[in-house]
């Protein structure tokens, strides 16, 4: 009987054009924390429903290296990958290689997402990617340690340094020699650009390059900010931070070895997972202000899904993107991995807020996150590299912030003459 049925199915499949062949799609999504697992589950759920198969392409953790890998693949016109996860700062860099998704996504679907992100993903009228999740830098801290030593959650970076020092001194006396005060992403890669932009913006020192394209990186507030953080390194910030990416910072914090950590929302669900030594002892808040007159800020991160122009299955790939960016899938990813949805209505979802209370409290932080200077378009990566290298030099004690930022200013001004990028 089974054989007959299978035969019938085969006959029907052969007779129905367009339904018959199972295609294989390849998707490149992230590899930080639980990302790969969550992406695989989502993609497989779609594959099962649609009767196709989806394969994951492995990518490096560092966003800059991912970009390098994709640029090589796409410049060669390779059809090896269909759906690519792209960073919020990439649309200007790689728009050429992507399919316009407007025909596949009606306006009423797009209007559910945060408008600035959709706008960010539209290059010269072409919608090159659909928002998948958004990010902003957050401050994680150990509630147990702060309480034990009578410290309050810090509202300014200066308070953070003072309370980290107080906790550290007391814990060191008690024999906890492994503890460090504050960890962030200090390796010379895109993450340091995000961190340092937050510092400068929190001191009200601008955004490296302003909205009109003018280079603003060298100003007294920015110098003050970078000088302040350089002073923390080797003090409450371990020098090893200069080689940390997201996961190294999270490993130190999650193992219970750091009082404060700057990281993206994804760290929340991992820090509170069953086997985490600090589960239940962690709280998250907006990043501190740069002094009493400063402001609380976070760098806008987040990732989108686009379809490669060289894909052989453009239509199917667009469907996969549609599935993965849908409200149900974004909700699942938020609950299981604390990835912030890009669909506005989800921020009122009770299940989601129960798993991630901060998504409700810090809604403003996410909406008002400070964007990186993408006005620099195709030169963004160079701008970012010059900026972070100078910050890195300052943090590692090579030169003063004022001199290093001045050098960056000169370089950036020669890259984007008269604010033209």
């Amino acid at each position: 009987m089974k054989k007959v049925l299978a035969g019938l199915v085969a006959v029907v499949a052969l007779a129905t054009p367009g339904l018959a062949r199972a295609e294989k799609l390849v998707i490149a999504c992230g590899s930080v924390g639980k990302e790969a697992d969550l992406c695989k589950q989502g993609a497989e759920a779609w594959a099962k429903k649609a009767g196709h198969t989806v394969e994951l392409m492995s990518v490096p953790q560092d966003a800059g290296q991912q970009l390098a890998q994709f640029q090589q693949l796409l410049a060669a016109g390779s059809s090896d990958v269909d759906v690519i996860r792209i960073d919020v700062v990439w649309p200007g860099l790689m728009a050429n290689h992507f399919v316009d998704l407007k025909p596949y996504f009606p306006d009423d679907v797009l209007s559910q997402h945060f408008e600035p992100i959709v706008k960010n993903n539209t290059v010269n009228g072409k919608l090159i990617a659909i928002p998948w999740f958004t990010d902003a830098g957050l401050l994680y801290y150990r509630t147990d340690l702060l309480e034990k030593h009578g410290q309050k959650p810090p509202t300014t970076w200066q308070e953070l340094a003072a309370s980290a020092k107080a906790v550290l001194d007391a814990e060191k006396k008690a024999g906890n020699s492994k503890l460090v005060g504050f960890v962030f992403q200090g390796k010379a890669y895109e993450g340091l650009t995000c961190n340092a932009l937050e510092w400068i913006d929190s001191f009200k020192g601008g955004t490296i390059v302003d909205q009109s394209g003018q280079v603003t990186v060298n100003n007294p507030k920015a110098v003050e900010a970078i000088t302040f953080f350089a002073g923390l390194v080797g003090n409450v910030v371990p020098k090893g931070v200069l080689n940390y990416q997201e996961e190294e910072a999270r490993n130190a914090f999650q193992a219970g070895n750091a009082v404060f950590m700057r990281n993206w929302p994804y760290a929340w669900s991992l820090a509170n997972s069953k086997d985490s030594p600090v589960a239940g002892k962690v709280a998250v808040m907006a990043l501190p202000k740069g002094g009493p007159d400063g402001k609380s800020t976070g760098t806008l991160g987040g990732w989108q899904l686009g379809v490669s122009k060289y894909s052989k299955n453009e239509k199917l790939a667009a469907e996969l993107v549609k599935y993965l960016t849908s409200a149900e899938e974004q909700k699942r990813r938020a609950i299981e991995g604390s990835f912030n949805p890009t669909i506005k209505s989800l921020y009122k979802d009770a299940d989601l807020l129960k798993a991630n209370p901060f998504m409700g409290n810090l809604y403003e932080t996410f909406v008002n996150a400070v964007p990186r200077p993408t006005i620099t378009g195709a030169k963004y990566n160079q701008v970012s590299t010059e900026f972070r290298n100078s910050v890195y030099s300052t943090l590692s004690g090579k030169g003063k912030a004022a001199d290093n930022l001045k050098k960056v200013e000169t370089k950036l001004k020669s890259l984007g003459k008269d604010g033209k990028w």
Partner: protein
């Protein structure tokens, strides 16, 4: 055995200008025939990319639109030469190469001398020594990165417990320390290669000279400096140049182990950054071509000064 050693050697030694015999011509043809597949493969996988890199070095090619590349003469090359970051990477690379190759040579020599002595289990030990060399560089660099970790790394734990350092060091984060770390990993990995090359040379040394030295009453140290070392000079120079070439085009160890800023970047890292992070294939290729020229120049100077003959006996 009356065969000539090589077909061309037979032809070249004909001092009386005799036309090459049919047999010699036949052999020459066969030699070329057998060489052809290799030559074609080499041209495809080495010649073509190299030629293309040189072409790009004179263009303004950009990854975002490769088809729009145009000839710009020496402009790309000039922008590399005027970039202080490039010279930082040249300096870093040479410092790395000189320090690590010197250490590898000295250590390799010592190990080779030890392995050349007769003792039970020598074969096993010779094989075991090669293990670091057999591990892919990326794997060993990753492994060492964990060992060098400032918080949970075993190196800090060891040094702290014996009192060599008073607080954990950030081995891979601080520019000066990370160069030290990179050299350490490279020495660990490549000393076996050096030791093996030197060991092979040691085994070729004629025994009668040593007997003569012994009869003359020379002590072991004198034998080493006056017999072994002069005899080893040729092979040693060749081994050193092999390693120098390798060390000057280093990329992987730095890439895996260090913080990725310009302060700790080798020349090859600079090329990669320009090509793939900035999408400037033109400028990146110019720096790659420059890297090639620098290595070629260094090798030539080295061979002339050291009178190394790669072909015959030195």
């Amino acid at each position: 055995m009356t065969r000539p050693t090589t077909p061309t050697a037979g032809a070249a030694t004909g001092a009386t200008e005799l036309p090459p015999s049919a047999l010699v011509r036949e052999r020459t043809r066969a030699a070329w025939l057998f060489l052809t597949p290799t030559l074609v493969a080499m041209a495809l996988v080495a010649g073509w990319p190299l030629a293309r890199t040189f072409w790009f070095a004179f263009s303004d090619a950009n990854l975002t639109d490769m088809a729009a590349a145009q000839f710009v003469g020496l402009a790309s090359l000039q922008s590399v030469l005027e970039d202080p970051d490039w010279w930082t990477t040249v300096w870093t690379t040479f410092r790395f190469a000189l320090v690590s190759v010197s250490l590898e040579t000295v250590l390799g020599l010592i190990i080779a001398l030890a392995l050349n002595a007769k003792f039970p289990g020598r074969g096993m030990l010779r094989a075991a020594v090669l293990v670091p060399w057999a591990i892919p560089t990326v794997v060993s660099a990753r492994m060492w990165a964990w060992m060098f970790n400032d918080i949970y790394g075993v190196i800090n734990a060891m040094f702290l417990s014996v009192g060599l350092i008073s607080e954990p060091l950030a081995w891979t984060a601080e520019p000066e320390l990370s160069l030290l770390a990179v050299v350490a990993v490279d020495v660990w990995k490549t000393t076996p290669f050096m030791a093996l090359l030197i060991l092979a040379a040691l085994q070729m040394l004629p025994g009668d000279i040593y007997e003569a030295a012994k009869i003359d009453g020379a002590g072991p140290i004198r034998v080493f400096f006056q017999v072994t070392l002069p005899l080893l000079k040729g092979p040693l120079m060749v081994a050193v140049i092999f390693r120098m070439l390798d060390a000057l085009r280093v990329f992987d160890i730095f890439f895996v182990l260090t913080g990725g800023s310009t302060d700790t970047m080798p020349m090859a890292g600079y090329s990669r950054q320009r090509m793939f992070e900035y999408q400037e294939i033109g400028v990146g290729s110019a720096s790659a071509a420059l890297l090639f020229v620098i290595i070629a120049l260094f090798t030539t100077v080295y061979m002339v000064v050291g009178r190394v003959k790669l072909g015959g006996e030195a």
